[in-house]
């Protein structure tokens, strides 16, 4: 009898499929370099920190990556993810988060998503690292290198960026803000013209109404024509004509996502983990443009 019982147990084990210790599927929105850098940081930190404990500790932890291409659809991606039966999903970018919206039984950590709320809505299995740092951090950094810049011009769509602008102002009350609300991109150029001779710096917020390919040129033209530095929220605008730009610390953000993943692996529920923000920012400057605008490196340094 005992023999038959033991044999049955072995037979059951023999039918078990190959399984990793803790399986993570990382979904990247594209092959863009920021996603890859953030993923590398996440992977490195998570792999080094995950303890090999418990029943699955004898097997290796696995991180599988999926990059969405143009032919992919959300359903196909979800089917592929289901086959992997992961313990955790990491979504790099808005598209990755949007494609995995139908998955509600696997915890999801998002990363590099500008407006995650619009995609998450009421889902409880999602948490992540917010893209925007704490509002106004960039101005703190800016004041350290250019304390003379006091008057800040802001063109924004209140419907999209009202909270961001308000928080920024509240965190930097010693600066004087010239606010120019717009409803349509066509208004941006005109509103910018009203800021001529009124401001020391123009802030280009992450507002999709204000920032379109047409209006983007208006910001650069305004900056050059009025010799006013332009502060952008992403490094990508530096080479196009911005004077200063917030440099996202992708490595740090990857590490933060790894920390969240460890919490979830250790049994925490995603719904109980609030999204976290980068706590510090770095500023980069385009020296060529600053020179042309009359801001020399030494002066910036002061």
């Amino acid at each position: 009898m005992l023999k038959h019982f033991v044999l049955s147990i072995f037979l059951i084990f023999s039918t078990a499929s190959y399984s990793y210790g803790f399986e993570v599927v990382a979904v990247k929105s594209s092959t863009a370099e920021p996603y890859s850098l953030a993923f590398e940081s996440f992977s490195r930190t998570f792999t080094s920190a995950v303890p090999t404990r418990g029943p699955k500790s004898i097997t290796q932890n696995a991180i599988i990556t999926r990059t969405i291409n143009q032919d992919d659809t959300p359903d196909r991606l979800v089917r592929q993810i289901r086959k992997e039966n992961p313990d955790l999903l990491i979504a790099f970018g808005s598209k990755a988060l949007r494609f995995t919206a139908s998955i509600k039984d696997i915890p999801i950590i998002y990363l590099l998503v500008p407006s995650p709320d619009k995609i998450i809505r009421d889902r409880s299995n999602v948490t992540g690292v917010l893209l925007q740092p704490v509002a106004g951090l960039e101005f703190r950094a800016l004041r350290k290198i250019a304390p003379a810049l006091k008057r800040i011009g802001v063109v924004y769509n209140p419907a999209k960026s009202k909270d961001l602008v308000r928080e920024t102002i509240s965190n930097n009350k010693d600066l004087h803000y010239m606010l120019r609300p717009v409803q349509q991109p066509q208004e941006v150029a005109k509103q910018l013209d009203t800021l001529a001779s009124e401001v020391d710096l123009v802030w280009m917020p992450p507002d999709s109404t204000v920032l379109t390919p047409h209006t983007e040129q208006s910001f650069y033209l305004f900056s050059l024509q009025n010799e006013v530095p332009l502060l952008a929220f992403s490094e990508k605008y530096l080479k196009k004509g911005a004077s200063f730009a917030v440099s996202l610390d992708l490595s740090s953000m990857g590490d933060m996502a790894a920390d969240l993943a460890l919490l979830i692996k250790n049994g925490a529920k995603a719904v109980n983990i609030p999204p976290i923000r980068p706590q510090q920012v770095k500023l980069k400057q385009n020296s060529i443009i600053l020179n042309k605008l009359g801001f020399h490196i030494q002066e910036v340094g002061q």
Partner: protein
Amino acid sequence: MIFAKFIKQVQASYSAKLILIFIASICLMGTILNFTFIRMQQDSYATYTRNSGLSMSRLLAKSVQIDVFTENKEQLAIPMDALLSQENILKVEIFTDKGELLVSRASSESCEIPDLKKTLGDLPQSKSSFNEWPNCFSFIWPVLTLPQYKSEDSLYFDEASELTPVDNHPLGYVSIIMSKRQYQQDIQQIFLKTGLTILFILVLLVTGILLLFRKMTLPLKNLIGKIQRERNIGEVHDDIGLLDTTVTSLVDELDRSFQTINDLTTGLEDKVTERTKQLAMANTELTNRQEYLEESNLKLEKAMKELKETEGQLIQSEKMAALGQVVAGVAHEINNNINFISGALPSLTRALSDIQKLTKKFDEAFVQASGDDAEKKQQEAIALKKELEEDNLFNSLDQLMANIREGVNRTTSIVSELRTFSRSDEQGFKKVDLHDSINSTITFLNKKYLTDVDIHKDYGTIPPVSCRPGRINQVFLNIMNNAIQAMGKKGGILTISTFLNGDDVHIRFTDTGAGINQDTLPKIFDPFFTNKDTGEGSGIGLAVSYKIIQEHQGRIDVQSKEDKGSTFEIVLPMEHVDETISESKNS
């Protein structure tokens, strides 16, 4: 009239026709090429103008994108005014996407064109337009919306395809009206330049062709000229016709020649066979003749050998004759000299007898006798001696001894002359004083003819001559014997003169004898020719002399007048050159 003459000349000359056709073709091609080039350049320039205008409108559309988007008329006016500053731009207009005029800038010059709004209405979306009007071109280019950011992420990152193309609905349109004046001026310039260039090339080509044809057709012209001259043709109306006629006749002649050659060829084999037979016969005959000639040659050689032997014998006999003469002379001289001795001998014998007798008397008187007898005998001996002295015994004895000495001396002299005369030639050429030779030879002249002949010697100063003395003496003997024979019993004078002329020694023998007939003169050196009586001469003396002088590289000149005498002049070189050595050196 001139044109008719030109036409006539062209009709007559094939090369002129060819040149005319070629030039006409070149001109036609040049004209076609000219128009083709002009058309191509016109098309190219039109394309360039169109592309240029469209590029201008595209650049304007691109530069006013934001201002059209924001409908900022002040900003829009700036690039439009900049464009209007160009001379050929008449008007610049910018329309909204609905075709409503947003901004318009125009120059003072105008151009009548249809309503652009209607054109815009007909224009497919996002398409450019080019139209050509009587006085201007119009270019329309849509002001397109810029592509939008694909997602909110694109605000932060440079994604691979971050820009999403938007629909083709344009923001508006730009329109540029360009004057055609410059274009038309440029086209006229193209027409003019191309035309002039082609004309210049045509002139060069025609000139070159004329020169080339002239050079190329020169042989043809020369050929026709040659035909004209050879056939005595005056003016040629059709040079090719003349050539054709000439060639046809030449071909006919050639055919005939070939026919003749064929005919000849047919009979040639027979002739060759016949000629071969004749040649074989001639060859056989030639062989026979050759054999005959060889045989004759052998005979001739034999005859020559015999002749040489005969000649040798004759020379020998002549030599022997000369020797005989010499021996006779010598015998005569020796005989004369011996007469001195033999004449003295009886007297000498008597004198010796008297002397013996006297000697005996003195021996008996002064040696054997004694006493009175001795005295008697001494007196007798002294008396005998007186008697003998009275008979001039001793004087006659001296005279006899003198006669004997004279005879001996003369004989010695004769022998000496004989030795001089008969010097051996075995040692070849040697330096000889010819005067000695002549003198010794004179000694042995034929005394028979010498009785009434005086010999005058007129010797000059001559050096010793290289010769064979025996042979030369023989020549002198022959010539002098002939001379004294010619003078005969009448007698005369034989003058022997010698002198030096350059490198030659001349020995001249002049006699005052009968002389030689002018008819006979050329034959005197022929062997066996003689005018002497039978038994007087062999006829080979002068022939042998001639041969001897030839051996000495000299010559004998003869001058003679009948009844006046003859002169034989022997000319000998001072130095004899050995011809065998000289020839071997030359070779």
